[in-house]
Symmetry: C2
Subunit: 308 residues, 2 copies
């Protein structure tokens, strides 16, 4: 669900950073690879939203199909992810900062006391269901309170986040929300998802420090991809990767009763969709395609070292 | 999980009401049955806690295995129950007022803004995990705020509750909490679970009005019942029912991946337990035992008429 309907927002948010800030080395070079290396983070979104998503994502992380993942802290299964994190201290788990609650019959509320973040609430008292109304209604200072509360709750649960990103791209939807996101990431010395594209809002990159890594491109299935074309879509995307740092964002889950109910009436990013993503990233074909295309899998944990 | 470890509390809370308040007719007579009729509410607890619980409970309600159920409003699946309630306007759904969040890796918080109900929160910001610490820490006025917020959220979701009861018996654990429970029930003109037993705290019954129905006995599986004795336990309990109003409290669910994870490390009231309850109440044997023992199944909706 991350970036649903917001891929347009995210891809136009950040522009050619290299033109705005001097950076002597690429991310690949900073990590010790050649300048033309193709680095890829394989990133599972939405951990903690449902047991089905957690189980599939843990399995993909354990098998090496996914390198990294991020957690929706306000969701009820946070402690399931905290238990996994405790048992897997080297796992690459960030926080999928969450300002929306998008499913029809399964909802959640902010971590922060509701009185302090009233602009984050829809009329029923849950987080807004879509990025649009969230972007229209959020007060930036309240969004910042909430994402700080999410970081603090994760830490209190025993999680040591390796990075931050934004569920459904809400924090990429307005300059002041993006500024809050960067501010919180800097305060906690965490790398965060920011994508390099050409756009007039490139001035926002001035918020980034020279140390902050920038992701050059995103690979993510979208609604134009037919169910039967899943492997073909990802295969082509990987073959067409350019040198630099890319992130492949996947949404993993098992197509079971729980996830079918969570995602009811919403096949996009739904239960069968997540099963297809899981099947692909845990398949031998995926491993083979990565090898054939000389893709170097990296983690946010690797990038975290830049900030120390 | 309702009344777990608290069956003792609930059964000693209320005493022989007939000795304290004049009541010319029994509940059975008020409903048009003979004075020695054996009335039984078959009540599914914990709706909204998990999809697995909802699915099993809806099925049992649809098949007539359960007559009634109650909803945990702070839990994430509230809107799934609201959708069922909308499609089944005659269903007998009350509110399982919830002041605890008892599972290990799956948690929830109050409906009310946390700042207003700080005594309801454990150190991690969720509701207390057990009745004991809840009873030790709750401020009665904050508990009242929260249960009113739960009633209001349910109504806002389109649910018309037929009755109130208390998850894990928290509202039966202290006189001031019980007083808040009765006050809220009276304010909303709803019948509520109160059990007739002999105890020194019978003075609390003075809070009840003459219209309030009292349940004469409770049937509920407990940890002394072995898995293989489930049918025998319920069969004997039904054969031994005395004239009056009884409630059989069951905890329904499917023994699937979701519910196994929700109830992890807790076989009591766990996933297999709930499957056994579901299997029993939807079995032909249950129907046969009720018929053979001339049990009259009633609903809280029937009792609601007393209050109008």
């Amino acid at each position: 669900m991350c970036l649903r309907k917001c891929i347009g927002v995210i891809v136009v948010l950040l522009s050619m950073a290299a033109s705005l800030r001097p950076q002597t080395k690429t991310v690949a070079e900073r990590l010790g690879y050649s300048a033309d290396a193709k680095l890829l983070i394989v990133h599972a979104d939405d951990l903690a939203v449902a047991h089905s998503v957690d189980a599939a994502s843990f399995d993909a992380l354990d098998k090496g199909g996914a390198t990294s993942a991020s957690i929706m802290v306000p969701c009820p299964w946070l402690n399931e992810v905290a238990a996994y994190a405790k048992d897997h201290p080297n796992s690459d788990l960030g926080l999928h900062l969450t300002l929306t609650s998008e499913w029809k019959i399964y909802r959640w509320s902010p971590v922060e006391s509701k009185d302090r973040v009233t602009s984050l609430l829809d009329p029923s008292g849950y987080l807004w269901p879509e990025t649009g109304p969230a972007a229209q209604n959020l007060k930036a200072e309240e969004a910042e309170h909430e994402i700080r509360a999410q970081v603090e709750r994760a830490i209190a649960a025993g999680i040591h986040p390796t990075h931050l990103d934004s569920h459904m791209g809400v924090l990429f939807s307005r300059p002041d929300l993006f500024a809050a996101y960067v501010k919180v990431a800097h305060d906690y010395h965490l790398p965060f998802l920011a994508v390099r594209v050409a756009d007039e809002r490139a001035k926002l990159l001035s918020l980034l420090s020279e140390k902050d890594p920038i992701v050059d491109s995103i690979v993510m299935a979208n609604t134009a991809v037919q169910a039967g074309q899943w492997k073909e879509f990802y295969g082509n995307a990987i073959k067409n990767l350019k040198p630099g740092l890319s992130e492949m964002i996947v949404h993993l889950g098992h197509d079971d009763a729980e996830l079918q109910a969570v995602t009811i009436d919403h096949p996009d990013f739904g239960s069968a969709w997540r099963q297809r993503d899981y099947d692909f990233v845990t398949s031998p074909e995926f491993k083979k395609i990565l090898e054939e295309n000389h893709i170097v899998r990296v983690k946010w944990r690797d990038l975290q070292k830049f900030l120390k």
